[in-house]
């Protein structure tokens, strides 16, 4: 363990499309998955991350480095996270939430989930279809039935009769 010599240990991570990345161990262990591998002594060579592609892993490592450089100040960490996610499109966010889940990084997971939820919040069905290019595959009868079933979520008031 290099911690004893005072020089920071560097880990090599490998994405599922065979890109290699070097990252400081102190930043990488934000991922519980990686931390467990390090603790189990599997960090000697290259750590393969089978569920993350190179593009996403590069992003995650940027985040790891950025957030671990900030001292224990939740306000500053939060504003870093907000800034980090502000320019990501939906596809990237979806990839990142999957990566954060696989890497077991709760802080990134929560932040990306909240960001995705923000995109979906207070949107009409029509907006959802346009935004995500979803084709309406309901028959009019089915759609009416599903609407009826969820009426209670759309109204401020639920009535058991039809007044």
């Amino acid at each position: 363990m290099a911690a004893e010599t005072g020089t920071p240990t560097t880990l090599t991570l490998k994405s599922n499309d065979d890109e290699l990345f070097s990252v400081a161990e102190s930043a990488a262990i934000l991922s519980v998955t990686i931390r467990n591998m390090v603790e189990d002594g599997c960090a000697g060579g290259v750590i393969p991350l089978d569920n993350v592609d190179g593009k996403t892993l590069a992003s995650v490592i940027t985040y790891m480095n950025g957030i671990s450089a900030i001292p224990a100040d939740e306000e500053k960490k939060k504003s870093y996270r907000d800034k980090f996610l502000s320019d990501k499109d939906f596809e990237t966010l979806a990839d990142m939430v999957l990566a954060a889940n696989y890497l077991n990084m709760s802080c990134l997971m929560d932040a990306v989930s909240a960001k995705i939820a923000q995109v979906m919040e207070k949107k009409s069905v029509g907006w959802v279809r346009r935004k995500f290019g979803i084709e309406n595959d309901y028959t009019p009868e089915e759609e009416a039935a599903v609407k009826e079933e969820h009426k209670w979520t759309f109204e401020g008031v639920e009535t058991d009769d039809d007044n």
């Binding site: 499109d89 889940n101 989930s113 939820a117 084709e135 609407k147 969820h150 639920e158 007044n163």
Partner: protein, 317 residues
């Protein structure tokens, strides 16, 4: 933007557990907007995981209680529908002169919410820490299998316990007044005349007539079932699986008594409405002539010190 091209497959590719983390921070309406957009997404957003998260987020009952309650309903979505519906009822409701007993505390029961009237009593120097409060149940609103509601007014007369079936008519999201109303039903002959007689315009002695009226339609709780409907005092505080079995059984028995969505004899109904009220130091200005309960501003968030589960364990919580 590339996200415009990715389609529903991107959303569909998210595993259930991630989806429920994401949707847990939006209200049920937004979850349903996704489901209404296409069949594939509807099956994703209908997952029990997503709706368990929604139920939990409401903060009305602890997580472990949700798990137990799930056994009596078709899905967490159905349970969520019930919880969203009754949420505005939770808390303290008062009428004029609370010191003579006009305080009703609405709290979770078992797959239900219960209105408890606090019996006027002398409390020792330690206040609530001194011992249990005397209370009596006034009404209970059950969650049926599909998440709809069943309203039962509780009563006691000459030593007999009664339940009067009625229905929960509507609950405003920000309701501050609770009205008990009666309407004659003519549904059997096809006419549905809206000759509704709310309590509010009745003269005070009409209230007594109403009591006569309801006494004709009450259902006497059979003696054998009494122990189940109104369980006797318990001393221990924690529920065992056996207790839960009794509570599930009690609920099913009461739902059997319940006449369904169209009570055939009397339209006794509960309605929570929003009225413009004046208040002085948070105390609502109450009308003398209205027979209604008024909401006191209160926190409804689940509090661990709130031992709701003792409710059925004793008649003097």
């Amino acid at each position: 933007m590339s996200s415009d091209l990715c389609g529903s497959s991107l959303l569909l590719s998210l595993p259930d557990e991630i989806f429920s983390v994401i949707t847990s921070s939006v209200p049920p309406r937004d979850v349903c907007s996704l489901g209404l957009s296409c069949r594939g997404l509807n099956s994703v957003v209908s997952s029990d995981k997503a709706w368990l998260a929604q139920c939990d987020k409401l903060g009305l009952v602890p997580f472990s209680t949700l798990i137990e309650w799930r056994k009596g309903v078709s899905s967490y979505k159905a349970l969520c529908r019930f919880l969203v519906n009754i949420q505005p009822l939770m808390g303290i409701w008062v009428h004029k002169n609370p010191e003579v007993g006009n305080v009703v505390y609405v709290m979770p029961g078992f797959l239900s919410v219960v209105g408890c009237r606090i019996v006027p009593q002398t409390i020792g120097p330690l206040g609530l820490e001194d011992g249990p409060l005397l209370w009596t149940s006034v009404f209970e609103i059950f969650c049926k299998y599909d998440g709809s509601t069943a309203f039962l007014l509780h009563g006691r007369e000459r030593g007999e316990d009664y339940v009067y079936p009625g229905f929960l008519k509507s609950v405003d999201r920000n309701s501050n007044m609770l009205l008990l109303e009666v309407e004659p039903l003519h549904q059997l002959d096809g006419r549905n005349t809206s000759s509704e007689i709310p309590f509010s315009p009745l003269e005070s002695d009409d209230g007594e007539r109403l009591l006569d009226f309801t006494s004709q339609v009450r259902d006497i709780v059979p003696d054998a079932a009494n122990m189940i409907f109104f369980p006797p005092i318990r001393n221990d505080e924690f529920f065992s699986q056996q207790d839960f079995a009794v509570l599930h059984k009690r609920r099913l028995l009461l739902l059997q008594i319940y006449p369904g969505s169209k009570p055939d004899r009397v339209g006794l109904s509960l309605r929570a409405v929003t009225m413009k009220l004046y208040s002085y130091v948070a105390w609502p200005d109450m009308h003398d002539i209205r027979f209604a309960l008024y909401k006191l501003p209160t926190k409804t968030k689940w509090d661990k010190t709130f031992f709701y589960y003792r409710l059925w364990g004793s008649s003097n919580y």
